[in-house]
């Protein structure tokens, strides 16, 4: 029998943390700093609204784009929160999480042979999605010395005549790096001069600790060439509901909608009801969660630095990204040893892009007690190697 799996899929490397996942699953007392999701349960008002809607029989398909009510609320939210108005009729599509939004955004614009720049380290789906669309992913390093921002120099070096788009994720998973207005202005000219599209994944926008999140689509020259992706998972602790959204100028949104309607039809209706409620009534709980993340960030960054794992202060998201250079171990050796010996799960940075090599991604979306315990175990691990 021939191999029925397509060459494109075969060419995608297997997940870099599968092995860790399998080991961790066999352990009883793992403290996991390996998860990219909030430990909070979705605010109760949000759950309650969704439960009620199910009781009322709201269980059917919605409009492909998402319910008009939710799109309207998203439009208002984006305008008032980030100064990025999008027309709820023509420019917003509600998706099954940002994962789907990223996929349909990429497929809507990438032709075979196109090069797509991906600022890394980053969430793992961008490069495979580009490959699946027939494009060629080209990674751009973001470095610790730049606080993991994307610099104009790094971008300029990677642009070729085949380059079509740039994918970014700020605040960043895994580094916690953020891009402020000046940082975006520095790269905006390059995007315009080379006529490139920007796909900006802003799912961690609400988790910005110093000042406000800056959305690149609020720069007029960028808006017409930007696809903004965002969602509810991180800000409102709603990972399992699978609700994200894609915002783009009408032509691009219409193209993405063609794909969305065939692959997903619509995002789950109960999730859409929940998302609407989150925007309507979830702000106070969201703010409380963000305050709590900030406290935890301070604890873990201080703790890691005291252990000699030098760690810049992440200004967004919920990840600390310490360097393991001082230990003489590679990030994978460190993560494996730590999991086996001390039952603390972290993600080796190399899994998330070449620039992540030598770092660990430690999610601080766990309770403060667990954070303290994890730090204590990391200390034992380090002492055993000293």
């Amino acid at each position: 029998m021939r191999n029925f799996v397509s060459e494109r899929v075969r060419a995608i490397p297997p997940s870099g943390i599968r092995k860790f996942f399998d080991i961790a699953q066999t352990m009883e007392d793992v403290i996991s700093l390996g998860v990219g999701e909030p430990d909070f349960v979705t605010p109760w008002c949000v759950c309650e609204a969704s439960i009620y809607s199910i009781e009322q029989g709201s269980t059917a398909y919605t409009s492909n784009k998402g319910t008009p009510r939710l799109r309207g609320a998203i439009s208002h939210y984006l305008d008032s929160r980030f100064g990025t108005p999008y027309d709820p009729e023509e420019e917003i599509i509600v998706t099954c999480g940002v994962s789907e939004a990223a996929d349909i955004a990429i497929r809507a614009v990438v032709d075979p042979g196109d090069e797509v720049l991906v600022a890394e380290p980053c969430y793992v789906s961008y490069t495979p999605c580009v490959s699946l669309a027939g494009g060629t992913p080209v990674t751009i390093p973001c470095r610790a010395e730049d606080e993991f921002r994307l610099t104009a120099d790094a971008l300029a070096e990677s642009i070729t005549p085949r380059t079509k788009a740039l994918i970014t994720n700020f605040p960043n998973n895994p580094t916690g790096g953020v891009m402020q207005e000046a940082d975006w202005r520095a790269v905006a000219d390059l995007l315009v001069d080379h006529d490139l599209l920007l796909i900006s994944d802003e799912v961690y926008a609400e988790l910005t600790y110093d000042g406000n999140h800056f959305s690149p689509a609020s720069i007029p020259e960028l808006r017409e060439r930007t696809i903004t992706l965002n969602g509810f998972s991180k800000a409102f602790a709603m990972t399992g509901w699978r609700i994200g959204y894609l915002c783009a100028p009408p032509e691009i949104a219409a193209a993405a909608l063609k794909i969305h309607q065939y692959v997903a039809l619509c995002a789950p209706v109960m999730g859409q009801v929940a998302a609407y409620e989150a925007l309507r009534a979830g702000e106070a709980e969201k703010d409380a969660m963000v305050r709590e993340y900030r406290l935890r960030r301070n604890l873990i960054v201080d703790g890691l630095n005291k252990l000699g794992l030098s760690c810049h202060l992440p200004r967004g998201a919920f990840y600390a990204f310490p360097s393991v250079e001082s230990t003489g171990m590679t990030d994978t050796e460190f993560a494996e040893g730590l999991l086996h010996e001390q039952h603390v799960a972290v993600v080796p940075g190399s899994v998330l892009g070449p620039s992540g090599t030598g770092h660990l991604r430690c999610a601080y979306a766990v309770s403060r007690d667990d954070l303290k315990e994890a730090l204590a175990r990391i200390k034992v691990f380090l002492d055993s190697r000293a």
Binding site: I17, F21, S32, G34, G36, L295, L299, V347
Partner: protein, 166 residues
Amino acid sequence: MIPLDEKDLTLLQLLEENCRTPVSDLAVMAELSEQDTKERIERLEAAGVIRRYAAVVDWERAGSDAVTAVIELKVSPERDFGYDRIAERIARFPQVRSLRLMTGTYDLQLLVTASSMHEIARFVAEQIAPLDRIRETATLIIMKTYKENGITFAVREEAERLPYSF
């Protein structure tokens, strides 16, 4: 009242949640030096903003049969003093855990704990009802506490969470 800034409020929230949090952790979380943190807490204590450090106890789980009741009182206020003097008298009873002046159909609300229902009845009948200016009492027995000081007492199964995700 003393003026409080954001950092003071952060410290208060952290201490209210867990007053045994080490000063070193409080300092890191609030982005302060340890010395500054200590001084701020001392100032909050001295000003009476922090009244006491106490544990939230689930007495049912401790095997206690103690009974707690909400007692509602209708009170005729006094000229010049309103409810304050009568409230002060009531507050002196050690059985009274909390005492509040309320809007609505009654005036004072007491939370009273005693070792039995009988003792509560006696306390109300013999100590509270006969006080001058008490016009009416209603005693409501607490049957079960689900949540106290923001802490849910019932044990819930933790939902499962994956050890890894991107």
